[in-house]
Amino acid sequence: MNPADLRKHIESAINTGRVHMRPRWHFVLRAIIRVAAVTLTGLVVLFLVSFVLFTLRASGVGVLTGFGWRGMIAYVTSLPWLIIVITLSLLVLLEIGIRRFGIGYRRPIAYTLLGILFALAVGGVILARTNLHTRWDTAATDQRLPVVGGLYRGFGPRAQHAVTQGVILETTMSGFTLQADSGETYMVTVEKSARIPTPEAITPGARVMVGGDVKNSTINAFGVRPATDDWQPGRGFRRGQ
């Protein structure tokens, strides 16, 4: 086909109405939807990152890392993996979405991804430190939080059972009786290899965090530490007798 023929053919298709020009609002609307979708995905990922950080902090599972290799395994298995996988999937979608815009595709993926991760890390830490999650967690427990209430009840700090926090009621030959914050009472058996603070810390009335396998009303503890905020991971505990 020579250029004149093609031109005539195209002009004829337009003039006879076989092809129509889409209106400008169609493209404006599409652009708005794209920007809104990327923004919404970004906000959801930010919320989920801060939720995971809040859950890890509020549930106290971080102390498990100080309880040896069993503590490390318990820590890894207690992570909210479903939420983490969903967050990572949304992160990939967010990256794909951003690459549809000039600000995204003109830069290597490594740069845009690092930028997103940095923004999420900073935003997630800030959001996790506000009282938003604490309030929503309480509201979810009281069945007063629609939509995301199930997220807090299913994956929030109260859904983590790797660490039990409470007050020692009395000591026994093999451990102690614990009045947990949840109201339940547990018989705690401290294993010989358990990591515990000084034996004096295990006295009636002391607030402790116990890492161990919970079965019915008993806990086989592989680690105990005082429930104080000045504990630093890596300082270590004296091994039990």
Partner: protein, 186 residues
């Protein structure tokens, strides 16, 4: 109408001036045919493919920003259409993810004159272009045949400019290698 720029014609066409769009068709028909023939080497009816590009361009003309350049916008439409044609008809693998877009690469300055004076490379393009993968073949067509600036190619392909340079450099090496290999077997 001859004195008007592409962008002025596109702006006129956006208001319903069919003649202005016809002029754009006439201006870009040869370039689109070259692009189609070199990139879609297995497709014989490139006339229909090129016609589809202009019809799509007309349908989407209101998405064109007349303050920007018309040429990369039209090439972008052609690129998307060609990839669809390759996927549907020739079944050549077109990867969804290109590892070259992952990390930054140094940007090499455009030097089309040097490539045009390189007889061996020109011979390799003529004889072995069809043996390259679509990803490498397209960058050769746009950079070495259509002579587009690398920044425009980056906007057409939606990749970083460093990725264009890496693909082009890789394509040149592969073309020379393919050509030597072909010569040895003749």
């Amino acid at each position: 109408m001859d004195s008007q720029s592409d962008e002025q014609l596109a702006a006129a066409a956006q208001t319903g001036n069919v003649q202005a769009f016809g002029e754009l068709v006439q201006r870009y028909e040869a370039a689109m045919q070259r692009y189609a023939r070199r990139f879609l080497f297995t497709v014989t009816d490139t006339d229909d493919v090129v016609q589809d590009i202009f019809l799509k361009a007309f349908q989407n003309l209101q998405s064109f920003d007349a303050h920007r350049r018309f040429s990369p916008w039209l090439y972008r439409i052609a690129h998307n259409h060609f990839l669809n044609v390759i996927r549907k008809r020739s079944h050549e693998p077109v990867p969804f993810f290109d590892p070259d877009t992952l990390l930054p690469h140094p940007v090499a300055p455009d030097n089309p004159q040097r490539d045009q004076q390189d007889a061996e490379l020109q011979h390799a393009i003529t004889t072995c272009l069809d043996k390259l993968s679509p990803v490498l073949r397209e960058v050769v067509v746009l950079a070495l045949i259509e002579d587009l600036p690398h920044a425009d190619i980056a906007d057409i392909l939606h990749v970083p400019i460093g990725t264009v340079d890496v693909r082009l450099s890789r394509a040149k090496v592969k073309l020379r290698h393919l050509c030597h290999h072909l010569a040895e077997h003749l």
